[in-house]
């Protein structure tokens, strides 16, 4: 079921088309990775969904209904730069935001407990590291137990341990039934935790799909590394096999790219000849390759 639906979103800033007929569908209970190069329109899209930037044209629907101020109660938002009141304590910040959403101060305590950051309650935000500020930002996002969570580049500038914590937290929130939409340029983490990805370029959605399906649709090649002897004659043989692309020698290894049925045929041929095959490594295409292939026109 589509939880958040964006249709034909257009936005222009000073004559520059930031979004051009952008479509997006986020399904209930999934983690949706929103990818795109810098300036592609990711943050603008998220800000429009949150009502922070006026849209020129297009529709946004949450569970089939337009997002009114009241419906925003069911959305939690974490901007790219964690922006809390630095002179206030963590607890005061969370109580303030709880009250803006119509909850009492116990809600602030609840979210701190849920994220196990009760110990930070009396500390002023300005004294916290970026990692801890991000945790407090995440707590702020969870106020009121919203069904949809929107995070703009949440792992940007964080150290690996906090990044890991954040990813685990997102998986955990998904298990609790939350729908999560997050933008990122760290492709590895998107691949690791997202159910589906949407790739945006020049303000338009290039594609959105399950990652495995994307690699099939784009017919991306696997990278195959083979250690076989004798090197020179086996390299000549491999280079001439059907479907083998970009063959080269890297140290003692032969490296080439191959996709679909050609991959199986090539490997079968390699093993069926009199060459001594000592090692074979297969690298499946990763999101980076999907991303590069889809946005290569922009580069």
């Amino acid at each position: 079921m589509v939880f958040l639906e964006v249709r034909g979103l257009c936005k222009e800033f000073n004559g520059i088309q930031a979004l051009d007929e952008l479509d997006m569908s986020v399904r209930q209970g999934e983690i949706y990775g929103f990818l795109g190069p810098n300036g592609a329109g990711k943050t603008t899209t998220l800000r429009i969904i949150m009502g922070l930037v006026e849209v020129d044209r297009g529709k946004i629907r949450l569970e089939g209904e337009p997002i009114t101020a009241d419906r925003r109660r069911d959305i939690g938002y974490l901007p790219e730069d964690v922006s809390l009141y630095e002179k206030m304590t963590v607890q005061e910040n969370l109580i303030f935001f709880s009250r803006l959403k119509g909850f009492d101060k116990d809600e602030g305590q609840r979210v701190m407990k849920a994220l196990r950051i009760e110990g930070l309650g009396d500390r002023k935000v300005e004294t916290l590291s970026k990692g801890y500020q991000q945790k407090v930002g995440l707590a702020q996002m969870l106020i009121g137990d919203p069904g949809l969570l929107i995070l703009d580049e949440p792992t940007s500038g964080l150290d690996p341990s906090v990044r890991r914590w954040l990813k685990d937290m997102m998986k955990n929130l998904k298990r609790q039934g939350k729908t999560i939409l997050f933008s990122s340029h760290v492709l590895g983490e998107v691949q690791e935790i997202c159910d589906r990805v949407g790739i945006i370029s020049k303000g338009s959605m290039l594609t959105e799909d399950v990652f495995e399906d994307l690699t099939n649709v784009l017919d991306l090649e696997d990278r195959i590394t083979v250690l076989m002897k004798p090197l020179k004659s086996s390299f000549k043989y491999v280079s001439e096999l059907e479907g083998v692309k970009r063959p080269r020698i890297e140290g003692e290894y032969i490296v080439f790219y191959c996709s679909g049925v050609h991959k199986i045929k090539a490997l079968r041929n390699i093993f069926s000849r009199d060459y001594r095959v000592l090692d074979v490594k297969l690298h499946e295409p990763d999101l980076e390759e999907v991303f590069v292939k889809l946005t290569e026109d922009d580069r």
């Binding site: 922070l52 925003r72 109660r73 901007p79 964690v82 803006l100």
Partner: protein, 298 residues
């Protein structure tokens, strides 16, 4: 649509959110060290001006209420607007720069509530500063002068709080319009100069070119349109409100300006001056509300 706006106006949630924003503003400012220092300086300055104002003409004694109030009026004419500007110029633009406006606006509230909440919280700080400053001055003065007229003094405090609110409202409007704190501060300072210094020259030039300034000095009251034009300056409205209610102040001011023949038109009444000050608070606030609603938050 109309129905929706009206129901929003009476929504209890809306007033709660305004209260929480105002409370946060008030609390964080009161806790801030430099704000407390500012209030302390303000109180000390008030006492100093009260003392010297009262004693200037008759040696170092406190016994002339009118003299004291007159000097305090001269002091408040600048201090109340300065307080308004200090608290107002960064109120929106600094939140925009730090990103907290983006976060707050992502919550289910109307952006007008942010303006209203901030204004009320900051106006509360101004009321506290002016109340403490002039209140302390009044208490000391009452023990020293022969006849303390508290009603006049309360009006002086109340109107000064209104004047601070006017300049707070102006600087909040500029804080909404401008994208950097520096531009907002410069705009606010210009407003202060316009109304406290430039206005005199503008009105003098207009008077000279139309009916001639000398006629006022010669005891002839200027035409009504001249008085109406003066109402475009909230500082003049405030001053008029005081002179209407503190006879000694009016007499002394006219003596100094040589304009004893000036007769206020009928529109110059206590109630109308109070309403006009409130209108001067409301207009910039409404513009701020319009601007923040139609512009992108980030």
């Amino acid at each position: 649509m109309k129905f929706k706006r009206i129901s929003l106006l009476y929504s209890r949630d809306m007033w709660s959110r305004i209260y929480f924003i105002a409370h946060k503003e008030f609390k964080t400012k009161v806790r801030s060290g430099w704000i407390l220092a500012l209030i302390a300086v303000f109180v000390s300055m008030s006492l100093l001006v009260t003392f010297y104002g009262a004693s200037l003409e008759e040696g170092l004694h406190w016994h002339h209420l009118e003299e004291a109030v007159m000097y305090m009026v001269g002091y408040m004419e600048f201090m109340a607007p300065i307080l308004g500007i200090i608290f107002g110029y960064g109120s929106i633009v600094q939140e925009r720069e730090s990103g907290t406006l983006e976060l707050m606006s992502s919550y289910p509230l109307d952006r007008g509530e942010i303006i209203a909440g901030k204004f009320l919280g900051l106006w509360g700080i101004i009321a506290l500063s002016v109340g403490l400053g002039l209140g302390a001055g009044g208490v000391i003065l009452s023990t020293q002068v022969e006849r303390m007229i508290w009603s006049e003094y309360y009006l002086f405090i109340f109107s000064s709080i209104l004047l601070g609110g006017v300049f707070l409202s102006f600087s909040m409007m500029l804080s909404t319009v401008f994208r950097t704190s520096n531009s907002s501060m410069c705009g606010s300072i210009f407003i202060l100069f316009l109304y406290n210094i430039l206005w005199l020259f503008i009105m003098y030039t207009i008077a000279e070119l139309s009916f001639g300034w000398d006629t006022m000095v010669e005891g002839i009251s200027p035409p009504t349109w001249y008085f109406v034009m003066q109402l475009f300056n909230p500082v003049i409205i405030w001053y008029t409100l005081l002179t209407l209610n503190i006879p000694a102040l009016r007499l002394r001011a006219m003596e100094l300006g040589g304009t004893e023949g000036t007769v206020y038109p009928d529109i110059y009444q206590t109630w109308s001056m109070i309403i006009l000050l409130i209108v001067w608070i409301a207009i910039p606030l409404l513009i701020s509300e319009y601007m923040i609603r139609r512009s992108d938050v980030c």
